[in-house]
């Protein structure tokens, strides 16, 4: 007689390893960590890779075109600017300030916005009304113009740029965190915790806060991209980072004066902004797919639909 069914060994299932063994959620977090490391590495390493001092003026080598152009030399791969400074070195150094300012603004505005959103969503009632009305007022104001006024009054520079941008950036966090808190509050396990006599602070920190992590990280990545663009625009307009400092926006503004004679001056710093922001935006959409189950379902349905129609 053969052995009963429950005694036959199960067929060996090949264990998934590495990336494939991770759940979508874990992949999302891995992706976020990789992005963060990559940005930190770019900010730290790129300036170190620069062949020259970005501020070294060499008038004998003014306006040299990139290496592949006719008069270009290998010594200056992306050419030199109107003062003979190496464009490649300036582009590499510009990365640091853009990323640092972006990170600082996101950190400040996210902390403040999350605080407002948590309090507003959790306290409810009159506190909620007042805080959200404040957010409404702030959102209605033209952001870039307010930044311009602040920067003119306080004087330009990296610190004031961070302040001006953070002042305009916190509202979106407050709104989103509030809505997440409101929806989480309805869940049975929060009620159980309340029933069990947990203090509000404990409920907020232990049970509500972890739910905010996934939407928050996606929003922060998206905002980072927006802030990098905003900083570049402010520096381009001449109220952001000032000349001894190296900023992509500033270099594009400088290159604008040589548009007809030296196209490379405005092109390469601008391209660096575009590629940085594009990369961060793509990462944000991948992150949303990985971390938000609803988005994942939508994506799945979309692909089914696309396959069916074809």
């Amino acid at each position: 007689m053969s052995a009963p069914a429950w005694e036959t060994p199960l067929p060996a299932v090949p264990r998934a390893r590495g990336w494939r063994a991770l759940s979508d959620r874990q992949r999302g977090w891995a992706l976020a960590a990789i992005l963060l490391l990559a940005l930190a590495a770019v900010a730290l390493l790129l300036p170190w890779l620069a062949p020259y001092d970005p501020a070294a003026i060499k008038l004998s080598a003014r306006l040299r075109p990139p290496a592949w152009e006719e008069r270009g030399t290998l010594a200056n791969l992306l050419g030199t600017d109107n003062l003979g400074r190496d464009v490649l070195s300036r582009v590499l150094h510009g990365a640091r300030l853009s990323i640092l300012i972006g990170a600082a603004v996101v950190a400040i505005s996210a902390s403040f916005g999350v605080l407002v959103g948590l309090v507003s969503g959790f306290a409810g009632g009159r506190v909620d009304t007042v805080l959200m009305r404040w957010v409404d007022i702030h959102v209605a104001f033209p952001g870039l113009l307010l930044s311009l006024v602040i920067l003119v009054i306080l004087g330009p520079g990296p610190g004031t740029v961070v302040l001006a941008l953070a002042l305009n950036g916190w509202m979106v966090y407050a709104r989103q965190m509030r809505s997440v808190v409101l929806s989480v509050r309805q869940l049975p396990y929060i009620e159980s915790a309340e029933m069990a006599g947990a203090r509000p602070a404990r409920i907020l920190l232990r049970h509500v806060l972890p739910n905010l992590a996934a939407p928050l990280i996606t929003l922060m990545v998206l905002e980072f991209a927006r802030v990098v663009l905003a900083e570049a625009a402010l520096s381009f307009l001449g109220v952001g980072v000032q000349p001894p400092g190296v900023s992509w926006g500033l270099d594009v503004a400088n290159g604008r004066n040589y548009l007809t004679s030296a196209w490379w001056l405005a092109t390469f710093p601008g391209l660096s902004i575009a590629l940085t922001v594009l990369g961060v935006n793509l990462a944000a959409s991948r992150l949303r797919l990985a971390l938000d189950p609803r988005e994942r379902e939508k994506d799945f349905a979309r692909r089914l639909l696309a396959r069916g129609r074809r």
Partner: protein
């Protein structure tokens, strides 16, 4: 009673509430600006050269109404704003409001052109993208919206100048005098908006096409074009109209500043930057307030349109 009637009947009360809220917004905004400019910073110092004497400062402070106790300054400030009296521009020595009104048409021309272009191209693109997901129109709208999200607008403008004005020599690179000089600034303003509108319409339309009423219409044997263009599109249009309003506000609030600077286009945004270069805070404040005021009015109108369009929002 049709839903539209009900919406119209509830409108007066809604309008009252909105006007009150908007007044609050205006007062709030002016207060924020007052705090930032008068308490945190020193406008007199920002407007004078570093080596100005104490007497110069006193004269300017008096001229700007920035002497005396702070609460009195605040009241005067609120009164001036209520009367739309921002004082004389220091740079041009005439009322700042006159300059603002002079430059306003330039900015509105750009916005209108860009919004028109974005709708004319973005809406058909969004419809085709929704009907054929994954095909060329879908790909184009994805690429456009991603580049709109990622390309710095000032750089996009410079690239367009490089291509159309410097290399091809088809269009003027800057100013507003030569014919066709509005084309490049409008294109620069429109491109990001265009991608966003196409994407928004696409996703809204896909949601509508998967809904029950569309299935019913199909079951009844309605023609596909009628289902899409009449039934689904009408509902999908609601968020798209909201986005259009948002785009308009975003253009006023910042995009035109950058684009007008790149193309030396005589509008409000360029005026703001010129005012900064000449340290003319009076003019800068006038521009900022006027634009903030326009945006509040714009949001107000949009809310009404939105309510009339979307019958699901009960007033």
């Amino acid at each position: 009673m049709s839903p539209t009637d009900r919406a119209a009947r509830g409108l007066p009360r809604f309008l009252m509430a909105r006007v009150l809220q908007d007044l609050l917004v205006v007062v709030g905004v002016t207060t924020i600006v007052f705090i930032v400019t008068r308490l945190v910073g020193d406008p007199v110092q920002a407007m004078l050269p570093v080596d100005a004497s104490a007497q110069d400062r006193a004269v300017l402070a008096q001229a700007l109404g920035m002497d005396g106790p702070i609460w009195l300054q605040y009241l005067h400030y609120l009164r001036d704003i209520a009367l739309f009296d921002f004082g004389n521009s220091i740079w041009q020595a005439r009322p700042a409001m006159d300059i603002v009104l002079e430059r306003l048409p330039g900015t509105l021309t750009l916005c209108a052109g860009a919004l028109g272009l974005a709708v004319l191209v973005g809406v058909p693109l969004g419809i085709v993208a929704a009907l054929r997901p994954g095909q060329w129109a879908d790909r184009i709208s994805v690429v456009l919206s991603l580049s709109g999200l990622s390309l710095p607008q000032f750089w996009l403008g410079l690239l367009l100048i490089l291509l159309f004005a410097v290399t091809l020599n088809w269009l003027p690179s800057s100013g507003a005098d030569a014919p066709g000089s509005a084309v490049l600034p409008i294109l620069t303003l429109a491109l990001p908006a265009l991608g966003r509108i196409a994407m928004m319409l696409r996703s809204a339309l896909i949601d509508e096409l998967n809904s029950l009423y569309v299935r019913t219409a199909r079951a009844k044997g309605l023609r596909s074009s009628r289902i899409v263009l009449v039934h689904a599109l009408r509902n999908a249009a609601v968020p798209t109209v909201a986005l259009l309003g948002w785009e308009f506000a975003a253009m006023l609030a910042g995009h035109t500043v950058v684009v007008e600077t790149v193309f030396a286009w005589p509008g409000l945004g360029q005026t703001a930057v010129q005012a900064i270069e000449r340290q003319d805070l009076v003019l800068l404040q006038a521009v900022v307030f006027f634009i903030a005021f326009l945006i509040v009015i714009l949001n107000f109108c949009l809310d009404i349109v939105y309510r009339l369009l979307d019958r699901r929002i009960a007033v």
